[in-house]
Amino acid sequence: MPFLSSTPSRPGRGRLLPALALLLPVLAACAPRPDPADPDAVAEFRQVNDPIEPFNRAMFSVHQGIDRFVLRPVAVGYRDVVPQPVRTGVRNVLGNLRTPVILANDMLQGEPRRAGDTLGRFLINSTLGVGGIFDVASSWFGVRGHTEDYGQTLAVWGLGEGAYLFIPVLGPSNPRDLAGFGLGIASDPLTWVGQGAAVDALTGTRAGATVVDTRESLIEPLDAVNRDSLDPYATLRSAYRQRRNAEIRNTNDSVAPSAAGSTGFGTGTGIQPPRRSDRE
């Protein structure tokens, strides 16, 4: 990753370091290795790709606590209080603000047509769509949004995902997607537009709105997983990894809402996503 080292340190490292520090206890919390004499067990251990499962499960319980008492209630309140058209507008604005990252990654992956879509959408939605509130590029011109991020680009460039990680609030991830998440923040022009309380308030508002918007879009799917799965941790792990692979291959552009982030719940759980709600 040549540009990780050249990444300016303020936002990128500022958020990545705590996450990396969290990983230190991992060394002490490795999953029991499978019996090497049982090839099926070994094959499954490799396929599941979760060597630090006990640590991840601990992080998952932490997350479930936060989710139960903070994230989900806030998302439900947001849905109750804010009417649907406004929520759609918020989602569209967040998606529009992600344009620089999506565009950069379209290009880094050598996808000029998709890059053209992204740029065209940005120009149309920022103007005719009144600062991105209305997704007219999709509703009038039929150019639907798609999402890209640095984690996907690193994957297209041949970098493996590494061991599965579960990070509270961010959700399911892995070292590659986590690095991509950091790069996404570091490379976003909005991170660098200046300093001062006003800018910090804006970027903070945007981050908070992204979390709330994403969680709101996942109320039903996550409720279904928590209610129906015999092991929600394992279900989310499998769903995340499968869905991430589909996104990397661009086989299913309806997968993620346009405001989706590069890791964890932002790119969803794979179960009944809000497929068209981003363009209602």
Partner: protein, 212 residues
Amino acid sequence: MTAFDRRLLLGVALGAPLAAAMPARAQQDIGRAASFIQATGQELVAAINDTRADAATRRQRVAAVLRRAVDIEGVGRFILGRWWRQASAAEQQEYMKLFEETLIRNLSARFGEYQGVRFSLGRSQQRTEDDVLVNTIIERPNSAPFALDWRVGDVNGQPKVVDVIAEGTSLRLTQRSEYSSVIQQNGGRVAALLDAMKRQIQQLAAREGGTR
């Protein structure tokens, strides 16, 4: 790499649970698979939307369609994966019974949710190795439509559903991960999974009663 090589590799990687079933499966015809899904989907939708019948009657109709259309034996064994051979004969038998019940109850517990559901074939039907992926769009009142891909295989000359894929996520893979994890978290005991499945069926049955 030929399809056979890939399949062999895949089989080895997944613990070869399907290896025994492979030779029986022949190439699937796209048109046949699509019309099979069309017919099966219409039957399911008709059963779900038949509000004159009570929930139990509707569940029985749905069960009959699923038993005919889904390769329950093959999918059930795939999902139990490497634990199938570690289970006793009695456990295998009970697992199959519970698996079928779970499949049916999962749908019948959602009769209320799926009231008024509509279903149509999507645009892209494609072949993957010996199977066909049939794309469908599921629409419900007051809810965003979503795409479901049905993987149709050939089991002893008959088209059968072998997997359902929602937005890039295969249900049988996710469920295998879930079941295997339950067994592992309980010291490798298949019986622990069977207990959990029984509890789940009870919960689903209670919800079916509530949604009528």
